[in-house]
């Protein structure tokens, strides 16, 4: 066999291997979706769709009457996530702007790894901080009886989504062509004006994508909210009420649910709702990011 032929075979084998890897990721995603769908659909043999999405009471193990109303948990999840974004987006963009434009390179060398380490803190540890540190502090600050509420969850999720928002926003800011910066400064704009009126708008789609990816992280987070938000099933009336998110509910109930019962299928239906929500957010982020990259070329 000639060297060339052997190299060709080698080449196509490697190509096939990488193709298989790429396909595998797609297959896993499709497989998860189909499994979720297949296990979720039987739930609606006994639960009315209108009850599932419209009622607020969730009590599948009730000795009186099993109820499957998801609305409180959907609202709770959205509330905790929205709170987290309100806190994390301004701080995240601020830090990203500081890192890309203001910070001395020595400070940046220290700060960037610190932000990356923040991403590596296990969620149980963050949840624990919520119980012993943020919870009591929030209770004192707002004069509530306890700190196990939606706000506590929001603060913790904000901390957890910060690294995503910061690092992607900073990349977007750095990707703004130098010429924009120089032109703005040459026209007599101050550094602040350049940052706010030129660089931030130019990097906006990247920053939006960063925030959406951070939001996807926040919606799907389980352990932290399970530990810090009190898990009450009632409909929340504000950020200072204890809430139970969809993720926390699955984690609490899946361990002991008898298999192949309505309750079991209903938990997968919640999983499907979550999957669709995070998928939509990630897809939107991807579309925004792609549009931004196309414009750059």
């Amino acid at each position: 066999m000639s060297t060339k032929k052997r190299r060709d075979i080698q080449e196509s084998a490697i190509r096939a291997f990488f193709f298989a890897c790429g396909i595998l990721a797609v297959l896993v995603l499709v497989g998860i979706f189909l499994t979720l769908l297949g296990t979720a659909v039987p739930a609606f043999r006994e639960i009315k769709i209108a009850e599932f999405f419209g009622h607020t009471r969730w009590d599948p193990t009730s000795p009186e009457k099993a109820e499957y109303g998801l609305l409180s948990m959907i609202v709770s999840t959205l509330m905790v996530t929205a709170g987290a974004m309100l806190l994390a987006v301004p701080v995240g963009i601020g830090v990203a702007a500081y890192l890309s434009d203001v910070a001395h390179w020595r400070v940046r060398e220290v700060l960037k790894p610190v932000v990356e380490i923040l991403a590596g803190i296990p969620s149980v540890v963050v949840g624990f901080l919520g119980i012993v540190l943020f919870g009591p502090a929030l209770a004192k600050l707002f004069h509530t009886a306890n700190g196990l509420n939606a706000l506590n969850g929001s603060v913790l999720l904000a901390i957890m989504s910060l690294p995503t928002i910061i690092s992607i926003s900073e990349d977007a800011l750095n990707a703004v062509p130098k010429a924009y910066n120089e032109a703005s400064l040459a026209l007599g704009a101050s550094r602040w004006q350049t940052l706010v009126r030129v660089k931030l708008p130019a990097a906006l789609s990247g920053i939006i994508a960063a925030c959406m990816l951070g939001m996807g992280r926040a919606i799907g987070e389980t352990m932290t909210v399970l530990m810090a938000t009190g898990n009450a099933r009632s409909f929340p009336h504000g950020l200072l009420d204890p809430v139970r998110t969809m993720t926390a509910n699955i984690a609490i109930e899946l361990g002991e649910v008898p298999y192949f019962t309505t309750h079991y299928y209903a938990l997968f239906a919640i999983g499907l709702v979550l999957f669709v929500m995070t998928f939509a957010v990630n897809l939107a982020a991807d579309v925004v990011l792609r549009r931004y990259q196309e414009r750059e070329q």
């Binding site: 193990t61 109930e253 361990g255």
Partner: protein
């Protein structure tokens, strides 16, 4: 060429991690009740100290989790603080699992409030009304102006189910109840929250010096309005049934316990194990009906 030492290092670490696991010892897997997990952990440690040949792994997760584990045969012993539901026994039989139950300790399920709360005693009916969400403010029960803040467990907990059956009269819990991961988290919540009320196993009331934790108040419970109230910390009234919310704590095995499992269980219900049960704040099984039932199940 720099990479080669790194790869070698990685391989060595990997092998190092795998090798000690190779000569696997038979390990007894215990899973279930969070109320019992600390107690069983201590029992297992003391037992392993005396019997170095046996390895025991203890996990919590709630009674429901332990029972499901025994049914699915993912554990050797299930800890549970409530009785099995008929449905669960049916499921076990379907899978060829024949559970046998051993009472290893007795718990006085304790109703606790923050020390700032002036209430000292409640009736069973009042505790039920609190948890059903019918009493919203402590002033209904006395002078204390503070909204009631309910702390409880999650539905996979045996204590949750036990309370629902025996105290709430099989009615729904208030959806305002904060559902905590474990007894210890309930205690942490109550210590910070002046309007709090919670339920925990009696063993969780004590600090490391075996005194009742500072900031907690354990309530006397009476069966009837105006009746005499009793404390769950008083062994005599728990044993006699004068304290109304006492319950046996169980360990279940699949079929008649054999080998190491039988020895471990025998040791727990024997004098050594029971003295540890008492030291940890729970109550012993005594010489009465529980002992008789255990003896029958060992045979």
């Amino acid at each position: 060429m720099k990479k080669i030492p790194m790869i070698a290092l990685a391989i060595v670490t990997l092998l190092g991690g795998l090798l000690p696991a190779a000569p696997a010892r038979k390990m007894i897997q215990v899973k279930g009740s969070d109320t019992m997990v600390n107690l069983v952990q201590i029992l297992a440690e003391e037992y392993m100290g005396k019997n170095p040949g046996t390895a025991i792994a203890v996990l919590g997760g709630g009674s429901g989790t332990g029972i499901t584990g025994l049914i699915n045969q993912t554990c050797d012993i299930a800890d549970h603080s409530r009785e099995w539901k008929p449905k669960e026994i049916d499921q076990a039989w379907e899978k060829g699992v024949t559970p046998r139950f051993f009472v290893v300790a007795v718990d006085g399920l304790s109703i606790v409030v923050n020390e700032k709360n002036p209430v000292d005693q409640l009736t069973m009916a009042q505790v039920g009304a609190l948890y059903r969400g019918e009493i919203k403010n402590w002033k209904t029960l006395g002078e204390f102006q503070e909204p009631v803040s309910l702390y409880g467990r999650q539905s996979n907990s045996g204590t949750y189910v036990f309370m629902q059956e025996f105290v709430l009269g099989n009615k729904n819990y208030s959806t305002d109840m904060k559902e905590m991961n474990g007894n210890a988290q309930i205690i942490e919540g109550i210590l910070q929250d002046e309007g709090a009320v919670g339920y925990v196993g009696v063993g969780y009331l004590y600090d490391e010096n075996h005194r009742i934790r500072k900031g907690l108040k354990v309530l006397k419970i009476s069966k009837e309005p105006n009746g005499a109230g009793y404390l769950p910390t008083d062994g005599a009234s728990v044993e006699s049934g004068a304290y109304p919310i006492s319950r046996p704590l169980y360990m279940a095995t699949n079929g008649k316990p054999k080998g190491d499992v039988a020895q471990f269980l025998g040791w727990i219900v024997g004098p050594e194990g029971q003295s540890i049960v008492e030291r940890e704040g729970f109550f012993t099984i005594g010489e009465g009906k529980y002992k008789a039932a255990n003896d029958k199940n060992f045979k």
